[in-house]
Symmetry: C2
Subunit: 336 residues, 2 copies
Amino acid sequence: MVKGSGPSIRSVAALAGVSIATVSNVLNGKASVAPDIAARVHAAVERLGYVRDSRAARLRSGNSRLIGVIVPDLTNPMFAAFVSALEHLVRREDYDLVVVSSANDPAEEAERLRRIREWRPAGLIVLPCDGALAERLPPCPALPLVVADRIPDARRFDLVAVDNAASSGAVVRHLREQGAADCLVVGTSLGISTIRERWEGAVAAAGTMPIAFVPVGFEDHAPPALAERLRTAPPQAVFCLDHETTLAVYGLLRDLGLRAGADVAFASFDEKEWMRLVAPAVTAVRQPVEEMADCAWTMLGRRIAGDEGPPRTRRLRCAVNFRGSTQRAASERALP
Amino acid sequence: MVKGSGPSIRSVAALAGVSIATVSNVLNGKASVAPDIAARVHAAVERLGYVRDSRAARLRSGNSRLIGVIVPDLTNPMFAAFVSALEHLVRREDYDLVVVSSANDPAEEAERLRRIREWRPAGLIVLPCDGALAERLPPCPALPLVVADRIPDARRFDLVAVDNAASSGAVVRHLREQGAADCLVVGTSLGISTIRERWEGAVAAAGTMPIAFVPVGFEDHAPPALAERLRTAPPQAVFCLDHETTLAVYGLLRDLGLRAGADVAFASFDEKEWMRLVAPAVTAVRQPVEEMADCAWTMLGRRIAGDEGPPRTRRLRCAVNFRGSTQRAASERALP
DNA sequence: TTGTACGCGTTATCAC
DNA sequence: GTGATAACGCGTACAA
């Protein structure tokens, strides 16, 4: 107690009048211990408020019980939901979670990736900020790793992502069916694999319908150029490929006096709760975040268990929720 | 490499032809080392891909560089934002973050609190799920701890929270000024200190205006009783005390054909981005989450540095953003 | 710059 | 079968 941080296994052993090995055995249930001895040990633990030092425990035993997760940005509800789901999953198997954010910065990601390895995690779940993850990954084939959401260029990892192209295509097909004559697609950056895939899916589904992409940075929500475009040549449909741009454009439309659903069809990738609640409700692609976390954890678990097989890729299907913001009735109201 | 997890400091020392103490010195910059020796060590580190085992390092050195944070629910954007802000803050001082969620369950909170101590964190930041935190806290006065957001019954901790009552009062005063004849207040539970304080602030500011509270659990979003009440005896103003209820009631109003801002004044505690963007925009109290994280970290830093002073409490001021959903013009339109 | 005791819990080995 | 003893995991601290 004078030194270090609280009572050690030695103080417990002393108080219980047994050896430290016995304390360890009682606490871990490894060897069979006489009931009265076990009771004495537990009493001593209770009295001293002993808490095992897992650093020492893991150091010796070699197994880790710690999972590292790195996400581009925790304030993004999608990533927060992912981490939350993951937290619940790993806890059930007695793991803890170290969470770090790369702040959408590759350099930061590399730095944090190295740093997190100092904790000797049993495995890593990485939501990379761009496609160059492979170069930044320290050469450590022994460390189980699953990449989720955004797809790195090098496919030498276990991957789980949503079916961006198909979902995006479904939205655009729907917009065409509802009679949209043209479509403006807005996303943060085509440099991000999810956005790129969604855009490609949209293009593939557009057929003869004119379709154009406008990039919006992460910072400049609602850039003037986009506002200008929406004012001077308003498209009949706008499709936003992520939550950031959905927020930006939704507000922009309101500022311009364009009613989503009435004056322009409006759809969003990455559904948030409010989209169901506004009037008209916003057509949106709901990403199965919990399922993605679940899948990532399952894959990682297999690797931790020793699976040495080739990298797997899983694509998860999204739900596309068609709502008032893209209904034909509404868009026809906008004519004449 | 055969044993354990990757190269150890011993392999580096062997490859560089120096002692492990020298490797440690080079890597930590503690003692002065000859440049050429240092270069040899760095080369060996590089070649082997050596990463220090911080468990061993911290075990020996006694300092921790790890902060534990426990929140009621990571999917709540407010808590996610808090964790995110905290993550950026602690990183700057070379700390890592272990994040756990109590799932709004006191038993779970107690369990996780105990568990997290196994990592020997340098400090803990706790956003408790109820007021009884004190009883669940393991007796460990040595562990620096700051409580944020919700206030435990026992004030023997450093505390940081927002000025719930004052902000809530400002909203209700505004509603009265806008001519609301009565007000329905909705919140998850008065058992949570934040909600209780907001309700008390609302009551104090209501004066002679009739005001009533309706609790809504965490799970039963939009309970039938609330819908019934809104239909049969719609108040002139509704004030939701947290994000969950804001979402529930906002959708409920739409379902009932009551237009927020036109048929009923509507305000929310805990502003989210979409509230600015809908039409009419929603009057809301913006909680200074980043500031709260900053303050919690500052307080914790002081404790970690050894401050033994009496517990401090900090109350942070919120911004109350008055918008269209509570404008007089709108509510008057609703009169017959 | 190096040798080595040390932090603490686990595990293998050994004695009763 | 039960419990004790001691080596060990790895990086750090301090004396040499």
